[in-house]
């Protein structure tokens, strides 16, 4: 048997990589991808918990997370496009119209 902790550790590492991506990339789309990576890492841990706890809740939550992720993607990319129309850049370090 694979111990539960292995899954959780995998999830933790992927989460950290996602965080790294979110903080380091310049391209907004890649930042978005990093976010998805974080969500997926959570999903992995949830499914693993669900499996080991013999409970359905985790998997249901994953289901909802995927749903929300889809909605998020739609809205996020829509925002991105709306933004891109006015400011033709998606470099995160060029987006600082408002600061201070």
């Amino acid at each position: 048997m694979v111990p539960l902790s292995w899954y959780i550790l995998l999830s933790a590492v992927m989460f950290s990589i996602g965080v790294f991506g979110f903080l380091s990339r310049r391209n907004l789309i890649l930042i978005f991808l990093s976010l998805e990576l974080m969500l997926n890492s959570v999903n992995i841990s949830l499914v693993a918990f669900s499996h080991y706890l013999q409970s359905m809740r985790g998997q249901i939550l994953v289901f909802f997370i995927i749903t929300v992720a889809a909605a998020e993607a739609a809205i996020g990319l829509a925002i991105l496009i709306a933004f891109y129309r006015n400011n033709p850049t998606i470099k995160v370090d060029e987006i600082n119209l408002m600061k201070g």
Binding site: V19, F22, L23, V92, I95, N96, M98, K99, G100
Partner: protein, 640 residues
Amino acid sequence: MLKYILIPLLPLIAFIINILFGRNFIKDKAHWIAVPAVACSFILALSAFMNVASGNVININVYNWIVSGTFTVTIGFLIDQLTAIMLIVVTSISTLIFIYSIGYMHGDKGYYRFFSYLSLFVFSMLILVMANNFLLLYFGWEAVGLCSYFLIGFWYEKKSAANAGKKAFIVNRFGDFGFGLGVILVFLTYGSLEYTQVFSDAGSIAGQTINIFGSDVDLITLICLLLFCGAVGKSAQMPLHVWLPDAMEGPTPVSALIHAATMVTAGVFLVARCNPLFSLSHTAMNTVAIVGGVTSIFAASIGLVQNDIKRVIAYSTVSQLGYMFLALGVGAYSAGIFHLYTHAYFKALLFLGSGSVIHALGNEQNMQKMGGLKKYMPVTYAVFVIATLSITGIPGLSGFFSKDEILWRAYSSGELGKVLWLLGTIVALMTAFYSWRLIFLTFHGKFRGTHEQEHHLHESPKVITVPLMFLAFGAIFAGYAGIPPLILEHGDKIGEFLGPVLGHPHGEGSHLEEIMVMMTSVLVAVGGWYGAYIMYVKKPDMPLEAVSKFTPLYNLLFNKYYVDEIYDKVFVKPTLKMSDKVVLGFFDVKIIEGIVNGVPNLVGAFSKKFREIQTGMLSNYGLVMALGALCIIGYVIFLK
């Protein structure tokens, strides 16, 4: 009872009427209000005197003034022998000077103001002498100071006058500072401020000490010295004498009334009034005597070389006041009061006489620019001579009796007394010298003023000369109230009269000694005259030679021992400088305001710095969030 209350009240009413309506309605009729008021006061005072003379002591409480906890003080009047004499002195001289002022102040644009202030002064002075408790005394004390301020600065458009008024008030405040504390200490000690109670309990605290600033001080001595502080200020004793010569900026009647006859003697009155307390403390008594003695010689020496006619008289006043304190200090209270009484007349006379001169010369006060006035102003000259004879102590005139009394008392009161007597005798010599010098410079020789002045020279009008004559009468005969027992058994009427209040001091010493003292003083009086005569009539060049010979000494005296300059350098300037540069400029502006403004500025600077964290880049925001989360995890899970 009402009539006693009216004594001070009448002048007050006169004041109120004049000050409110004087400007627009009464104008140059102001004396019609003031003179009758003060004259009535005089009459009422006489009746009070009669009443007292018949053995009654009047003590009335009008109403409770301040009540706070156990502290109660009333508005109340005590008319005993001492007060009665003071009443007579004050009201009589006031009346005369009021009348004199009608002529002297005629045409001044502040005529109504002058009379209202003068009335207010009389009111205050009467409150001062009539009070039956220390606080009301203090009231009068301050109020006369106020009037003095107004009257010195009467011609306020003159900077020197304004300055002098202010100086007088502030210097007096130094004395009052001690006086006020003394009053407080009296209450704390005796539980009352009423004279009768305090004096009857006076002895009960003999020998008690009080811990003040860490050292034990004899309580009664402390009280006396504090009270004496007030006296020093008001009576212009060293070291607070500096205001009085400057006070001559005021109109001459003011100098006569306030700065010669009445107000300045308040200190003497105070010490005499508190004699039951002072008698308990040798230290205090000696202090009084020494201060008096030193002041008298100090002031007299300055008077020797002054050229301003009023200033000479002013220094003479200071010197004579010193005499009175000397008397008080050796326990001769009645002698002090006696001298106060006689001095009031001859000194007022001197001042008014000089006023007459100044008036005639168109406000010239420098004696070097006078001379030979004898023939133009015979009446003035005559009264001047009378006053001078009196002050120098020529037998037969008032001054002789009181002065002799003081000298004898001093001589007969122990070793310190002998020293003081010597001092007093020297002062008498000086007094004679400068008094005669004044007369010779002013009335003898040739006129040294301008032609125009000479053209206008004339004797003063009746309204001025008549009061002079009355005063001259006083200057001659007032002294007969206190003929020494040596000369006339029971001649010392005034001493006996004051006995119930001031006690009956008896010096030790033989008749022979007494006669010797008397002869000495007569001798020095004549000696002074002779000296002055030689120097200013016979050999008019001599003074200049003397000056060139003793230049440093002359300068020292002429500049009044540089006391004013020293005070200015040591107290006034540093205080002003400190308040401006240190307290305000450094402490208030730099330190306190620095902190007050510095903290907000610091916060503002923080604000400017911290807002830079907000870079506008969302990754930075995410970074801060993640960092925050990490810190929390690290802090709570790993550190705790």
